[in-house]
Point group: C4
Chain length 335, copies 4
């Protein structure tokens, strides 16, 4: 990078801070305009989840069963590890341990960016693995990764569509050289290349959910990709109920972004999801205690969920529904 | 406890703090995800109560009478001491003084965990006592305590159903060895064992309220058990109006959790309760001044309530109703 | 006051602080329960006023006239000095200067507690004075003060009914020896004793407004008496529109409590008041600059009001109405 | 300024601070009443914009075109520089550089206060310039400036009507000697003096929007003039949808006040504007890097807008509409 490039501001924030400095040198102190918060969707998601209360039904107690079958895999919990790419602070070995922990918790693993070798080692742990392919600019690479996933033994494969335009944070786009928008025909082509169930991740509108169902996806992940996609996108927790109403009977609706607790999982399922994904939390659990930490984390989540199911009188996941939740009087219920 | 057990994290919070430490040692500083607030129901209850305003009707002033009869006992105040178990910082003697103070205020006492001896001494103070039995795993113990309560002279007896699954705080279950879910038949059996009015405590849905009425309960306490039962349960103050509409004509509807002032009592009654319970506040009052402190506390509450009744033009408790309260325009009225 | 009396807690807050001290001595640190905020009505009023926005209509500019006639007095401003009793930090002479300032601003003065001598000196300044009599326990004193007000030359006389039960602050009643509830017949009697227009101050419900109109009051002041009457009373700004709709065509509806600016006056009038009272602000203005300070204050208020009227296209006070205001989308409009 | 004038308080705030000082000298400490926030409209605008979420539609990706034609000028971005008067900290040369930067970004420049010479230099940069004339007390000056703008080559000319009564901040009017309300006939006259499209800036009601359309304006700027016109005016972002519905098919509806990001532009257009103005931000960008800084700023805005358009499935500005946005459940949608 040349000196000039280094000096060129790459966001509004950097530009304005330069203005502040220049004006201060001239003796003028100018307050910078309050910018929008680039974490708006995440923060709204958290606030919304925390505004949902749960009805209790304690008579006729039940032994809740939190099990379900996803992509043919039997799970003991509706919490899964949402598409994860290895962060710099974890080694390949750490990632494999993480995957192992997911399996020990009888959950399933979605893997994001990563090569065939890591994928194979992950699958070899015995944990059911879903490969989520990034929307590479090089479409052939997508096809190749889809085929590879099937060949190596994934239980499902899918594609992340909310990184069509790269990541976004603090006014900066990332990875737009690597990723690019894909035409529907290209996605259809990817689906046609495998017999595995196909997952489309990054849906936030019924428009896209209906399209995904129409072209043959088996499942969608309603997701605002944490802080990584579009600031001020509709939070997944707002988008979920309408989407579940629109396609929930035809395809599997999963959700992630901002869920943190077993009660959050209960709320996500009440809003229409079949299962709820965790990513940041699983990474942390792995950093805390490797495979055992991950197993513990999913255990805590599932334990709280089952306790809450029991208190709400829900013997199984199918009995968790919207009548059991109530929005704070400060909110208009959006479901 | 072995070294290993001591080291095993028992909540998500502990697990994540360990991750933070590990990552810091590797030179990576990771922000922990914002967790849900485990006091959500209590905080919502407080905020909701504080968002209710009271109409004044000053013409044709009245001398308010705050008296009522509960379980045959004549009370001069609709505030009562909600089910209390002796905390470590009070002695048995302190508890008896507390009960005496409740009686001096012409109120009634609900006693939670505690043996026959304490119960007898409490009853001997002359204060009307209601025994609230915990949902012991050992059902026979419940039956025995119900019979004991009647034999010793309680005015009513009941059972706490929101501790079926133990207490819960900061992601941790407590007392699940001691308490356990009880089948409806077991509750029916407990009711059949006594001629006393039977109270079911811990109701938060019309579903449970209707069940309680159906199986012969005389009264229910709408309660989210402070911070002790289910995080994000519907706060009792939200659940109350629907429940009162559903069963208020057949059985006695009481409420507790988060009430603090005489105005709060007015609001609770306007929302449909016949009387309002205080627990934490009574403990504090007892710590401040023993029997006299408790009497003073209930006196302050009743004094403020009567002043407010006078200003709202209510000669008696029956005349306190929903038309006299208004929700803040920031809230959707939930009644 | 004896030692014992001094030691006896007189509010819940004092009682709980004692508990905290006692428990700390025993080595237990207990968090005190969060109490309701005893300034709730005032704070809500402020927040509500600040959530109202004003439409501008700039075409066809007008020269606004903020004048009106109240109780026969011509005023150049719809802001008046609401019932004021002399605070300790002002001398009798200061009060007279304050009244003089109100007159210099072409407004009217409402005087609260105070003897005949002060009343006479106030009237002698030439400022139109309305005497607001307190609801004295001694009803004859009320009648005497009503007759005295007429005899000395007040333009109207009235009675404060929201101090029927004394003042109230921080859980403590005040002045209940001096004030007491008055029966409707007593108010009727007071009205019958004078030919002056009669003002009833402290109305917060259509119930009371209709009663006031029915028994012959000429005007009412919708007021929650700042922090001095009932905590959690409906703020006057919420109560106003319904009351104005109910009686605004038959009697004069005034308002006070929490108004601070010229825009607030615009909003109060849009919500249905004919004029808006200031008390705390007038006291401060008087402390800042005596008669001139008060005149300046009412001048600032009126100047801002007229500028806003001009910008909203309102040539006179009668043209200020609810279509010109909008509630924040965070609020449900309450009018 | 004489000593006396210097000492005379010119706002309520100054008056009250004097009261506080005086009372402190007497040993009385009085809390000042909480005043309304004089930036209410701006703050509400920001909060409202941040409460709007955007739907994504990623299937069938589009290459968004953010271009439009305003006043005959082809723009590559719907963000423009809203009426700007030279601040003290910029030189005339700086202003010209700023204008040049606007042109380099293929946008248009609205110029506020400033003489013919600056206007000419600005036009000579080749950037399309719209002259927004202030509502001078001296109407002839307005006419002269309108004719001058046409003669020198502006692409449009207009008038700011929200400074009819001067600026306003912290309770203080400004510039009322220079500016004054203009009668509709005077505006009609100004319009008749030029063949250029005429812009009326400072509209916040459908009343004024309809009037502007009726008398022949080609465009309006819905604007609450940042902090400079009427405190508690309806924020432009609230006023916009109704105004666009009322006149959007007949005249060009522009908007400014409080917009900061490319997403804000998307939201403004979804609410009914054809383009969105920036003023403070352009000044800062200019201070940061002159013409290049301004070009960069508008580039960042447009880049973010186009990325968001792509993610929302909008090939052009006309396809951005209200179905693509959602209000936070804490807000009532105002559109």
């Amino acid at each position: 990078m040349t000196e000039t490039q280094a000096n060129k501001p790459s966001t509004i924030s950097e530009l304005f801070n330069r203005a502040k400095d220049n004006l201060k040198q001239k003796g003028t102190d100018v307050p910078l305009p309050v910018a929008s918060n680039y974490l708006a969707s995440s923060q709204a998601a958290r606030e919304l989840l925390d505004s949902i209360f749960i009805q209790t039904r304690l008579f006729d107690p039940v032994e809740p069963d939190a099990g379900l079958t996803l992509f043919g895999a039997k799970m003991k919990t509706p919490s899964f590890c949402s598409a994860l790419s290895k962060p710099p602070y974890l080694s390949d070995g750490d990632m494999v341990e993480l995957v192992r922990g997911v399996g020990k918790a009888s959950s399933i693993m979605m893997l994001g960016i990563g090569g065939s070798e890591l994928l194979q080692t992950a699958i070899d742990t015995g944990t059911p693995v879903v490969k989520i392919v990034k929307p590479y600019r090089d479409t052939e690479l997508i096809y190749q990764k889809v085929r590879d996933a099937e060949a190596r033994g994934c239980i499902a494969v899918g594609m992340d569509i909310d990184h069509f335009y790269g990541g976004y944070r603090d006014g900066r786009s990332r990875l737009t050289d690597t990723f690019a928008p894909k035409r529907t025909e290209e996605i259809v082509q990817a689906i046609s290349m495998t017999k595995l169930p196909f997952v489309v991740k990054g849906i936030l509108s019924t428009h896209d959910a209906l399209r995904a169902a129409h072209i043959g996806a088996s499942a969608i992940v309603v997701s605002n990709h944490g802080w990584g996609s579009l600031d001020f996108s509709v939070p997944s927790v707002i988008a979920l109920p309408d989407i579940a109403d629109a396609v929930g009977k035809r395809i599997t609706v999963l959700v992630d972004s901002g869920f943190r607790t077993g009660n959050d999982v209960f709320k996500g399922i009440a809003l229409g999801a079949k299962a709820v994904g965790f990513a940041t939390s699983v990474l942390l659990a792995s950093s805390a205690g490797g495979a055992e930490g991950v197993e513990q984390f999913l255990g805590f989540i599932t334990g709280e969920l089952k306790r809450t199911m029991a208190m709400a009188g829900c013997p199984d996941l199918a009995s968790i529904g919207r009548p059991l939740i109530a929005a704070s009087p400060k909110m208009t219920p959006w479901w």
